[in-house]
């Protein structure tokens, strides 16, 4: 229940303005809450006189939280390799586990896993639960879900993390439902709360317009899918020691009601923007395909990949696999060069952790300059051609 103490309320209306659900309206200077309230707490935070509180009735039966311990990472294995996000999760998971003083485990499932569990240890896992079985060769929600569910029930980890990939976002919700755990989707931040060791899971909502921090106070495990390319992996350490435990699931738990008839890899784009060290990105400011030709030239000269804002993709100047942002890819290159991109939050979430961000924009107030480590106010059609000349001369040398 959202409670507004009318004795304290001064009728300033800030709560009404803040509510993104339109759930609060001021009538005769008194705020009223309707059914569309989502209990997000935004009004509680902005109320200067602290008149608003959220009262939560707690569930009668609570799980004994102390039985649950350890941090787990689901290590996605696809097309004969571990998905890079698994190493990123081990980096984040190591940090969380060390802070909590518990161990970090990885769950590796698939078929033909020889040699892969060791790399998970090198990246930070203390224990690897390895489930190597032909029935797991193709991903199915049923088999992957059953196996992870059984392991979670048996070992009771307090935190379970998985990549927010097509696979993670498909079967993790199923596991969370069966074990009655809370699940936070597509997180971009993970912290441990000092006071009680709760996992603070931060994620964008409303297409990136707001950030929300989610907690699961009364249930375990605390489960989250995490966006690829946001967390940093630790350095690989071939000397790290860890334990590999082979798990043999019951045959009936490996059955799937979904049958995979064929798995097709589609031709990947020539350059994968998520793997490039230098990303050269263009937006609506490039005006047309010709503008993008300049960008391609720049990319070739510096050995980078071409990316784009959604506006540029929607205009048809480049294809969707090049899109960076909330509804595109997240990238984290050494250098990100943004040309004619305004820096809408939906774009920025996909590139803000790049080491160096260079922005060229003719509008000095463009929000892209708020994230740029090096901003240039100017016209790209003047700056880029001159820069290209210089780079060509350098190459010629």
């Amino acid at each position: 229940m959202l409670r507004i103490d009318l004795d304290i309320c001064i009728g300033c209306g800030v709560c009404e303005e803040t509510c993104s659900f339109g759930a609060i309206t001021l009538e005769d200077g008194e705020p009223r809450v309707d059914d569309s309230c989502n209990f997000c707490g935004a009004c509680v935070d902005v109320c200067e006189v602290e008149a608003i509180t959220i009262e939560r009735e707690e569930k009668a039966a609570r799980a004994d939280l102390s039985e649950w311990s350890g941090v787990w990472v689901f290590a996605e294995f696809r097309n004969k390799r571990i998905a890079p996000v698994a190493f990123e999760l081990l980096g984040a998971g190591r940090r969380l586990a060390d802070q909590l003083g518990v161990s970090l485990s990885a769950v590796l499932m698939g078929s033909g896993l020889d040699g892969h569990a060791e790399s998970l240890i090198g990246y930070g896992a203390d224990t690897v639960y390895r489930v190597d079985h032909p029935a797991l060769a193709h991903f199915t929600d049923d088999a992957y879900g059953n196996v992870l569910e059984d392991l979670v029930r048996e070992h009771k980890p307090e935190i379970v993390l998985a990549g927010a990939t097509a696979i993670g976002r498909s079967f993790i919700p199923r596991v969370a439902t069966t074990v009655d755990a809370g699940l936070t989707a597509d997180c971009t931040g993970l912290e441990i709360r000092e006071e009680d060791g709760a996992l603070l899971q931060t994620r964008p909502a409303f297409g990136g317009n707001i950030m929300a921090t989610i907690i699961c106070p009364h249930t375990r495990p605390q489960m989250a899918t995490v966006r690829p390319m946001v967390m940093r992996p630790n350095e690989f350490d071939s000397d790290r020691q860890g334990e590999i435990i082979d798990v043999i699931p019951d045959a009936n738990r490996l059955e799937s009601r979904v049958r995979v008839l064929r798995s097709v890899m589609e031709e990947q784009d020539k350059v994968n923007i998520t793997e490039a060290d230098i990303v050269v990105a263009g937006g609506r400011g490039l005006e047309n395909e010709k503008g993008f030709a300049l960008l391609h030239e720049l990319a070739d000269l510096v050995g980078g990949a071409v990316a784009a804002s959604r506006a540029a993709v929607d205009s048809g100047w480049v294809s969707y696999p090049h899109q960076v942002g909330q509804t595109g890819k997240t990238v984290c290159p050494k250098v990100y060069i943004a040309c004619g991109i305004s820096g809408a939050i939906q774009h920025v979430v996909g590139m803000q952790s790049s080491d160096t961000i260079i922005a060229i924009n003719k509008d000095p107030d463009a929000p892209i300059f708020d994230v740029a480590t090096c901003g240039v106010v100017g016209d790209i059609f003047e700056i880029l051609p001159q820069l290209l000349e210089k780079l060509k001369a350098r190459k010629g040398k």
Partner: protein, 260 residues
């Protein structure tokens, strides 16, 4: 074939903007729309009905005004509409939402296929589809981009993966979540609009569903929102100034540092 489509009313994300002065969400003029992905789920359902016969029932859990999206869906070809609405449902996270939707679907007179959108654009979780299938104890496929074949017993389709697609099949009853690529949604017909106007909407309350109050709404939700805030910008605004030639020179030096 009995098809159920789960639709959600959401604020139009295009309009949800931060007010730079107050740093809060400006909701002035934010329209409520049918979640765009659910429109594709609805279209898929109506197409299957047209091909194989049957009925399409749309279902939404939300406040009374969510009725609007149900009428919209009927105008686009749905036959029946159910509003799952009760104050007790308010504040539900995906765990409590799937509990409630499953109760509502189990109350229906049977079903062969449940269709959901890939995700709702307000929360962007994409968790309701898989969670709902689990509660109904039926197989499911996420990211469906093409239905190749559907009989009374089995459905064959393509599921998008991170690097291509899988061809998969499963027995009915089953659940799908669909991506935009699956179809081009139709616009409402005149006849549909007339029908939508006259439509009798069935409402299910918590009591109708015989739901466990401990599993509903805010109280039944394992996740809690601890804080909402505006995304932060790094914000050091370090700028290169001067004439164009000077700017280019500095930019070039900067790049050389990075390249070497």
């Amino acid at each position: 074939m009995k098809i159920v489509v789960c639709i959600k009313q959401v604020p139009d994300a295009k309009d949800v903007r931060l007010d730079p002065k107050t740093n809060t969400l400006a909701r002035e003029g934010v329209a409520s729309i049918m979640n765009p992905y659910d429109r594709h789920a609805l279209e898929a359902g109506v197409c299957l009905k047209e091909q194989y016969g049957g009925t399409v029932t749309v279902l939404t859990m939300g406040p009374p005004q969510a009725e609007e999206v149900l009428r919209d869906a009927v105008a686009c070809g749905a036959d029946e509409a159910i509003l799952v609405s009760d104050r007790a449902f308010a504040g539900a996270d995906t765990w409590a939402t799937t509990y409630t939707l499953a109760k509502a679907i189990e109350k229906l007179d049977g079903y062969d296929l449940v269709l959901c959108g890939k995700q709702a654009i307000d929360g962007d979780t994409a968790q309701v589809g898989p969670g709902l299938a689990q509660r109904l104890n039926i197989p499911y496929i996420t990211y469906a981009r093409k239905i190749n074949e559907c009989t009374r017993e089995v459905i064959r389709l393509e599921r998008m993966t991170d690097d291509g697609y899988d061809e998969v099949e499963m027995d009915l009853p089953a659940l799908l979540t669909v991506v935009k690529e699956i179809n081009e949604p139709r616009i409402p017909s005149l006849k549909g609009k007339m029908k939508a106007k006259k439509l009798q909407i069935t409402t299910y309350t918590a009591a109708d569903l015989k739901a466990d109050p401990n599993c509903l709404g805010l109280k039944g939700s394992p996740t809690q929102v601890a804080r909402v805030f505006s995304p932060e910008m790094r914000g050091d605004r370090s700028m290169i100034t001067g004439t164009v030639a000077e700017q280019v020179e500095q930019l070039f030096e900067k790049l050389e540092d990075c390249l070497s």
